[in-house]
C-alpha cells in the first residue's frame, strides 16, 4: 500500500467511522487486534470491538462529532494527523450531564497501518481543555498554570 492509500484509510476512519458513526466500516479500515497507546483521559482501548463500542457510546453522548484534519503526514507504514474535534455535549461525559454546549479540542495522532488497515495508534489530545469545558478543572488564564 502506498502512503496515499494509507492516508485515505485514516481519512475514512475519521470521516466515516468517527464522523458519520458508521461502525460497520471499522472492519474495513482497522485490524481486529488493534493496539491503542492512549493517554490519561482516553485510556487505551485495545481491540477493534472495544473501540467500536466506545465510538457507538460516544455518538450517543456527543452527537455531531466531527474531526477537522488540518494536516496529514505519511511515511512508510505511518500516518500522522493534526486536527480539531468538535461535538455537542448531549449526554453524561466523564460524569457531567449534557449541557447542549459545543465542545472542541485539539489532538495529534499517529497511526501504523498493516496491509491497508489501521493496526496501532498513538495520540495526545488537549485533555485539560476538555475538562475545563466540562467544568471539571478550574479555568485559569495565568501563565503559571499553562507553562510546560
Amino acid at each position: 500500500m502506498s502512503t496515499q492509500d494509507n492516508k485515505q484509510v485514516v481519512r475514512r476512519f475519521y470521516d466515516e467511522v468517527m464522523g458519520e458513526g458508521r461502525v460497520d466500516v471499522l472492519d474495513e479500515v482497522m485490524v481486529e487486534d488493534f493496539v491503542d497507546h492512549g493517554e490519561a483521559l482516553f485510556d487505551s482501548p485495545h481491540g477493534r470491538d472495544t473501540l467500536r463500542q466506545g465510538i457507538e457510546a460516544t455518538h450517543e453522548i456527543l452527537p455531531g462529532l466531527h474531526v477537522s484534519l488540518h494536516e496529514m503526514v505519511a511515511e512508510g507504514d505511518l500516518v500522522g494527523v493534526r486536527g480539531t474535534m468538535r461535538c455537542r455535549h448531549a449526554g453524561a461525559f466523564f460524569g457531567v450531564a449534557g449541557t447542549g454546549h459545543e465542545l472542541s479540542w485539539e489532538g495529534i495522532a499517529v497511526f501504523r497501518l498493516a496491509e491497508g488497515r489501521i493496526a496501532e495508534r498513538w495520540f495526545n489530545s488537549d485533555s485539560i481543555s476538555i475538562l475545563r469545558q466540562l467544568g471539571l478543572a478550574p479555568s485559569r488564564s495565568g501563565a503559571e498554570s499553562e507553562a510546560g
Binding site: L41, E75, L78, I108, N124, D126, L136, E144, G148
Partner: protein, 146 residues
C-alpha cells in the same frame, strides 16, 4: 518531493533538537537549527505561543527548570514534504514549578505527540501536545477520572 524538501535532513534536524537542545540543554544549538521566525503553537491558547529563537530558548529553559533531568526518548519519527512528526516518551523529576504546581520530587513519565514544519533548512513551526492531564494526575493535582 515538492519544494526540494530533504526529509532525511529534516528528520535529522528534529532529532538534534530533541537530543541536543531538549535533552542536552545545549541552547547554543538553537541558533543553528531553529528558524529566526520560529513559532511554537500552544495547544489551546495562542497567548502562550513561543516566538523566535529566544522564545524557543525560554520554552526549553522553563521545562528544564521544572524537570532538570528531563529526557525525551524518540519513539516515532517520520516525515513528508516540509513536515516531521514525532511521538516522544518523556521522563523527569519534578524539581521546579510546573503548571503552577511547586516542586514535589515526583518522578514523571508522560507522552508527547508533535508536528514540526521546516523552512529554509531550519525548524520553523511546532505543534506539540503533552499528556498534561497524566502529568497533573501524577502530581496529585487532578483526581483520576471514573
Amino acid at each position: 518531493m515538492s519544494n526540494g524538501n530533504d526529509t532525511g535532513r529534516n528528520k535529522e534536524l528534529v532529532r538534534r533538537c530533541v537530543e541536543e537542545v531538549w535533552n542536552g540543554s545545549r541552547t547554543e544549538v538553537i541558533a543553528e537549527i531553529m528558524h529566526p521566525s520560529f513559532r511554537r503553537h500552544h495547544e489551546r491558547n495562542p497567548d502562550f505561543d513561543s516566538y523566535g529563537q529566544d522564545g524557543c530558548e525560554a520554552w526549553v529553559k522553563a521545562a528544564r527548570a521544572a524537570l532538570p533531568d528531563l529526557h525525551l526518548a524518540v519513539e516515532l519519527l517520520f516525515a513528508e514534504d516540509d513536515r516531521v512528526m514525532l511521538h516522544l516518551l518523556g521522563t523527569g523529576t519534578h524539581r521546579g514549578d510546573l503548571y503552577g504546581l511547586p516542586a514535589s520530587g515526583t518522578p514523571l513519565r508522560f507522552t508527547v505527540t508533535a508536528v514540526v514544519r521546516l523552512a529554509e533548512g531550519k525548524i520553523a513551526e511546532c505543534w506539540a501536545i503533552p499528556d498534561e492531564l497524566g502529568i497533573r494526575q501524577q502530581l496529585g493535582a487532578v483526581p483520576p477520572l471514573g
